[in-house]
Symmetry: none
Subunit: 220 residues, 4 copies
């Protein structure tokens, strides 16, 4: 599943060739990591010669950046498409999580590129990767904030108000939990997107819900 066909067809329009190359690149980067992936392997998997890869995508760095962008866009769109604005906050979150788990399960290499390779600190596209993570976190932050606004009775507002920084922290925690759960579900196998989403909702939503109502856990 997801393996790129390497039938070497000649004379394809540029756009198609580019997609083939990026498919091969995502697969290779996802499985090997940025440094360990070689342009040779990518070109061969794409069924083209190396110079063509350079002609179309300029450099390994740019190729990787393009992969990040494409996969991030695909994931974001999948999640956003699933979140219907009219629903209640918890339903929105559930739908988003379910879409997230489904998409990552269906595109493991793409997800690997986003998730695993996101840590390539010293590399020159670190900024690009960081930006993607920010965007996703911001999206979730928005969801949580919206939920907070919506789900809490005005009377409780003052006490319950979550500091902005706390919301950001929660978003990070949620994203991390989802990522980790997705990886685990992928490796373990047999865990459906719905189950993962349910598990995470149970784990986190009740906590979020209470938080928004002003309840707090504290040592002692």
């Amino acid at each position: 599943m997801g393996a790129v066909k390497s039938v070497r067809a000649k004379r394809m329009p540029r756009a198609v060739r580019e997609q083939q190359m990026m498919d091969a690149a995502v697969q290779t980067f996802g499985q090997r990591g940025y440094r360990a992936a070689s342009m040779d392997e990518i070109a061969e998997l794409a069924g083209v010669s190396k110079p063509l890869v350079y002609l179309y995508l300029n450099s390994k760095e740019e190729l990787f950046t393009a992969c990040i962008r494409r996969e991030a866009k695909a994931l974001t769109e999948a999640v956003q498409a699933a979140v219907e604005p009219g629903l209640s906050a918890d339903r929105q979150m559930w739908a988003g999580l379910e879409a997230f788990f489904r998409h990552t399960a269906e595109n493991p290499d793409g997800w690997s590129v986003l998730h695993h390779q996101a840590c390539t600190h010293g590399e020159p596209f670190a900024a690009e990767v960081a930006k993607m993570r920010e965007e996703i976190a911001a999206f979730v932050t928005g969801l949580i904030a919206a939920a907070a606004r919506q789900g809490v009775p005005p009377a409780a507002h003052r006490d319950a108000e979550l500091a902005e920084r706390d919301v950001a922290g929660l978003a990070q925690a949620l994203v991390g939990a989802a990522e980790s759960l997705a990886a685990w579900a992928n490796e373990t196998g047999g865990v459906s997107a719905k189950e993962s989403a349910g598990l995470l909702m149970n784990f986190a939503w009740t906590g979020l819900d209470r938080l928004m109502r002003g309840e707090r856990w504290s040592p002692q």
Copy 2:
């Protein structure tokens, strides 16, 4: 902070030199990643010549494995030392989380080696890395299970019982949330270990607590 002093002192006993090398290696691996880190850089940072690194630590792979082991041991011990067996489940978890956030904040490079480089799939020490993650997850799984046993009134037991797989999933989610939160706290700065631990307890504990009592969230 954490930068290794590179004063080139000659003729040190082997044990000391080995620690210096591993310090340098952790720093370099943590900041660059396994592949991007070069033995030259590590040696220079350690203030020794490359052959000495090989003489003492045999190969890049073994060096990395040794780093993984050292840092994992340090983190595990820090967490375990903080968790007093006599305490209640939530206090235990809070203490563990606080120790975790404190340790990772104090050893960002070591944490990076464990967390970020944990994804080096094709590399030959992947097993080592995976084992570490398993251990940590197993530890957390144990905590959750213990909490479940302890915190739930016998009457509610039957309904509330969490499937083993769910507990494992929850542990993964919790670890992921903690990891992500730790990374965010580190990057953002100004978020103390106590705050992070509190945030995560609020986020997750109440959920766990409810789960153990048999309450469930479900879409509609």
Copy 3:
């Protein structure tokens, strides 16, 4: 004589470049030995960059093996081409020896690769080298055995019969004598292939001849 031209001509077809590289490799291996020969030197002598050598011939080991094969094939073919099946046993042997001495005199580096480097015991291609020696010895063994069958009057057969192991030993001795003589002729200079062949025939043939007739030398 035999020195490879290092005119750096660009953009040659692969087959040509490969031959150039192998020429350079044979020369270098022959003069320096396997371990002492460096890929740098081979590449420079071939007039190409090192990566190209690796691109075409994969590794030092494979390159050496390829050299062994090429030179062994050339030598074997030269000898076999000279041995006309119709001739008498002694004429066949003389022709073979003459071709052997001529070929080795004309290709001293190739001969060195086969002869001198044949002793690289610990190296991973030792098997390859050993096989070549076996083949040559087997070829000579065949010649001697054929001569024995042909040159001996049936009446003398029973006594004269040479044990199989003795034939093999004789072949080894003959090959060793030829090798040593070839090396000496090469170094000394001024000794033609015909002279060497004649010397060895005088030295060995009469002995073989007598042996086949059942005459034996024994101490006392």
Copy 4:
């Protein structure tokens, strides 16, 4: 057999230590070849530290030269001790050959150093190695010449006279045959020194004998 004991006994007199080192060196050089043998391995096998090897034997090159000299001396002496001046030429040669085969079978590593590693052309001690071969060849040349003088009736002298160069060539051939036979006997196993000597006498002596009597083989 021949394996050096590596019991690490301290404070030995220099002469003993030197012999231990050379034993280890001969073994290592013999099995690995000059380049592939490492001073580390030799030192370890000798049960001493590397600096001590350097203190006593100065360099790898000198160490190897010392090995060549020691082993060549041992071999030469073994052969010379076996050749009693009073005997007839053929008995002398048989005795010498038998001693040669016996000694090389008993000291395979030493023999390997002399025989196999003798081909290290580019190395700086090539001269040393060459000298040894010259000496051996000269010794044999002497034997053959003596035999020629002694074994031939004065009347036949004029025609039979072997050119000096031919004698040298014959010596080379004989040495090569003996070397090759010795190697084969060693590898094959189960071939005694006496058998080898007999085989070679049968192979070569009759030829030499006839040669000295003026008989010649010639094509046609």
